[in-house]
C-alpha cells in the first residue's frame, strides 16, 4: 500500500511541476514585455505622440505575447502546434520592424536607448515562440537573421544605435533560447523518470506474479505428482472396476492441473522459425547429432506459416532425438515449384517410432497442418535415412516479424 501511495504522490508532483513550469514560462514574455513597454509608452507620451500610436504598439505587442504564450503551452505538451498564430507572429514582427523607421521619422522615438528597447520588445515574442519549436542550429540561424534584420533596420536611420541593437537582440535571443531549452529539458527528464517509474512498478508486479506462480508450481506441482502417483497406486491395488475408473479420472485431473500450472509459469511467448531452427540445432548437437540447416532460396513466411513449421520442427526433431543411432540431421527449408514452403527433415537414424507413452505426435501434426492446406509425409529415404517432408501452400498474409512483448517506448513529449 505504501508503494501505491508514494506513486500517487509522485505523479501529482510531476503534474504540479508541469503546471508550474508552464505558468512560469508563459508569464515570462508578458513580464518582460510589460517592463519594456512601460518606458517606451512613457517616452511616447513625453514626445507628445497621439494616443492611437501607444494603443497600436500595445495591441501589436499583445498579439505577439499571445502567440508566444500559445507556442510555449504547445511545447509543454498541451495543445496542437499553433501554425496560424506563428504565421500571424511573423507578419506582426515584420510589420513592427517596418513601422520603426516611420515612428522614428515622426520624432516620437529617439535616442539609442529607446530604439534598443523597441527592438528587444519586437524580438522577445518570436524568441519565446521559436525556441521550443526549432532545433538548436535552426534556432540560432533564425536568431542571427532576426537580430541582423532589426539592427539593419535601425542602422538605416540611426547609425549610432545599430551595433547596440545587434548586441542586445543577439543576447536576448540567446538568453531566452537557453532558458526555454533548459526548462523543457528539465521537464522532459521529469516525465521520463515518471514513465520509468510507472514501467518499473508494472514490471515489479509482473515479476512478483511470476515468482508467485513459480513458487506455486514448485510446491503444488510436487504434491500433484504425489497425488497422481498415489491414486495410480490405489488403482493398481484395488480390484473394484468402478473405483479404478474413478481413480483414472483423479489421475487425469491431477496431471492436467499440473500441466496447466506449468503453462502459467512458462508464460506466453511467440517465437519465429529462425529461433526454432537454432534451438533445434543446439538441442541436436547437445545429443551428439550433427545438424545442418539449409535455407537457401527459402520463401518469406507469414506468422501463421512460421508457427505451423515451428510445430513441424519441434515434433520432427523430438522424433530424431528418439533415435539414438542418428548421427546427422539435415533441416532444409525451400520453395517448391508452386511457391509452397517445403520443409524436409532428414536423419540417418532410422524409422519413425511412436513415442512411448506419449502417442505419436506426427499424426497430430498432420491434423494441425490440414486447416492451412499443408501436407505431411514421412518414411524411409535413400541410404537408410528417414525423411519427414512437409508442404505448406503460400498464404496471403504478409510477412510479419514476431512481435516482441509490448514495451512502452520512452517519449519526451507524450505526457498523458
Amino acid at each position: 500500500m505504501t508503494d501505491v501511495r508514494t506513486t500517487t504522490h509522485y505523479r501529482t508532483d510531476v503534474a504540479k511541476a508541469t503546471v508550474q513550469t508552464r505558468w512560469m514560462l508563459c508569464s515570462m514574455p508578458w513580464l518582460l514585455l510589460a517592463a519594456l513597454l512601460w518606458p517606451l509608452l512613457a517616452r511616447l507620451g513625453e514626445a507628445g505622440a497621439p494616443a492611437v500610436v501607444g494603443w497600436g504598439i500595445a495591441t501589436l505587442t499583445a498579439v505577439q505575447g499571445i502567440g508566444a504564450t500559445t507556442a510555449i503551452a504547445h511545447s509543454v505538451g498541451r495543445t496542437a502546434r499553433p501554425r496560424a498564430l506563428l504565421g500571424a507572429m511573423a507578419a506582426v514582427t515584420v510589420l513592427e520592424l517596418g513601422l520603426l523607421p516611420y515612428a522614428y521619422g515622426t520624432g516620437h522615438l529617439d535616442g539609442t536607448r529607446v530604439l534598443v528597447i523597441a527592438a528587444i520588445a519586437i524580438v522577445i515574442p518570436p524568441a519565446f515562440a521559436l525556441s521550443p519549436l526549432l532545433g538548436q542550429a535552426r534556432y540560432l540561424v533564425v536568431a542571427l537573421v532576426g537580430s541582423v534584420a532589426a539592427a539593419v533596420v535601425v542602422w538605416s536611420f540611426d547609425r549610432a544605435a545599430g551595433p547596440a541593437v545587434l548586441a542586445f537582440t543577439v543576447a536576448t535571443w540567446t538568453v531566452i533560447g537557453g532558458l526555454m531549452r533548459s526548462s523543457l529539458w528539465f521537464l522532459s527528464v521529469l516525465w521520463q523518470l515518471d514513465a520509468a517509474r510507472e514501467t518499473q512498478a508494472r514490471l515489479m508486479v509482473a515479476e512478483e506474479r511470476l515468482r508467485f506462480a513459480r513458487d506455486l508450481h514448485d510446491i503444488i506441482g510436487r504434491n500433484l505428482s504425489v497425488i497422481a502417483l498415489k491414486s495410480e497406486l490405489v488403482q493398481r491395488l484395488t480390484e473394484h472396476p468402478k473405483a479404478q475408473a474413478e481413480l483414472t479420472e483423479v489421475q487425469k485431473l491431477t496431471r492436467s492441473l499440473h500441466q496447466e500450472i506449468r503453462e502459467v509459469v512458462k508464460g506466453y511467448r511467440t517465437t519465429d522459425l529462425t529461433t526454432e531452427l537454432e534451438g533445434a540445432r543446439s538441442v541436436l548437437e547437445a545429443a551428439g547429432i550433427t545438424c545442418r540447416i539449409e535455407r537457401d532460396g527459402a520463401p518469406e513466411l507469414g506468422q501463421d506459416a512460421q508457427t505451423a513449421l515451428g510445430w513441424v520442427v519441434r515434433e520432427g526433431i523430438t522424433n530424431v532425438l528418439h533415435h539414438s543411432h542418428a548421427r546427422t540431421c539435415t533441416i532444409a527449408l525451400a520453395r517448391a515449384a508452386d511457391g509452397a514452403a517445403e520443409l524436409t527433415i532428414t536423419n540417418d537414424g532410422g524409422g519413425h517410432r511412436p513415442a512411448s507413452g506419449g502417442g505419436s505426435g506426427l499424426a497430430g501434426l498432420g491434423e494441425r497442418l490440414a486447416p492451412l492446406g499443408g501436407s505431411l509425409e514421412h518414411g524411409p529415404g535413400a541410404d537408410r535415412t528417414y525423411r519427414l517432408h512437409v508442404l505448406l501452400p503460400p498464404t496471403e498474409s504478409p510477412t510479419e516479424p514476431p512481435t516482441e512483448p509490448p514495451t512502452e517506448p520512452p517519449t519526451d513529449r507524450g505526457h498523458r
Partner: protein, 201 residues
C-alpha cells in the same frame, strides 16, 4: 529383468514410483537413493541397468550423477525425471549421455514403458520438454549460468544469491558478469529480463 535404481529426494514420490514399478514383471528396483552422492554410491554398488535420477537432489544434481555414471558404469543407462523444463538442463543432460528425459507428470505406467525404451538402447525425450527447449532457440547460457541468473531475476542481492546457490559471492559475481557479457547487456537485471523473455531461464 531390468534392474533399476531410483533416486529422488522426495520420498513420497520415490516411494510411489517404487511401489508402482514393482507391479511390472520385467522391472526390479535394486536400489533407492535420496541424494546425489548416495545415488552414485548405490549405482556403483548395485550396478543397475537403468538409473532413474531426479534432476534436483541435494549434494549433486541428477545430470552430474549421470555424468559420473557414464564414466564409471558405461553399460548403465541414465534417465532424468524433472519438473523444471529449462532448455539448458535438457541440453546439458543430453551432452552427458542421458538417454531419457521425462517430466514429473509422467505416470508410473508410462515411466515403466520409457525405462524399457531406454534399456533397449533408444532415447526418450518428453515431447513437451523437447519442444520448449527447441522454441527457446540457442541459448548462449550454460545451465549453471541460467540457474544463477534465475536466482538473480527476483532482484536478489549477490549475497543472497550466493547463499541460495551455495556458492561464494565472488563465484556468483563471475557467473553473472559472464552472463551479461554473453548477452551483451548492461547489468544482471537486463540480462534476467532478456533471458526470461527468450525462455532461457
Amino acid at each position: 529383468m531390468i534392474r533399476v535404481l531410483l533416486a529422488d529426494d522426495e520420498h513420497l514420490i520415490r516411494g510411489a514410483f517404487a511401489a508402482l514399478l514393482a507391479f511390472e514383471d520385467d522391472i526390479e528396483i535394486v536400489a533407492e537413493a535420496s541424494t546425489g552422492p548416495e545415488a552414485t554410491a548405490m549405482a556403483l554398488h548395485h550396478r543397475p541397468d537403468v538409473a532413474v535420477l531426479d534432476l534436483q537432489m541435494p549434494g549433486r544434481d541428477g545430470v552430474t550423477v549421470a555424468r559420473e555414471l557414464a564414466q564409471a558404469l558405461p553399460d548403465c543407462r541414465t534417465m532424468i525425471v524433472t519438473s523444471h523444463g529449462l532448455p539448458g538442463h535438457l541440453k546439458r543432460a543430453l551432452a552427458c549421455g542421458v538417454t531419457g528425459f521425462v517430466s514429473k507428470t509422467v505416470s508410473a505406467q508410462e515411466l515403466a514403458s520409457i525405462i524399457r525404451t531406454v534399456h533397449g538402447g533408444h532415447r526418450y525425450i518428453d515431447p513437451i520438454l523437447a519442444a520448449d527447449a527447441i522454441s527457446a532457440g540457442a541459448s548462449p547460457l550454460s545451465a549453471r549460468e541460467a540457474d544463477i541468473l534465475s536466482l538473480a531475476a527476483d532482484g536478489a542481492p549477490i549475497l543472497e544469491i550466493a547463499e541460495r546457490a551455495a556458492l561464494a559471492p565472488g563465484t556468483v559475481r563471475n557467473y553473472l558478469s559472464s552472463v551479461t557479457t554473453k548477452l551483451g547487456v548492461e547489468n544482471r537485471h537486463a540480462a534476467a529480463q532478456l533471458a526470461r523473455q527468450r525462455g532461457w531461464i
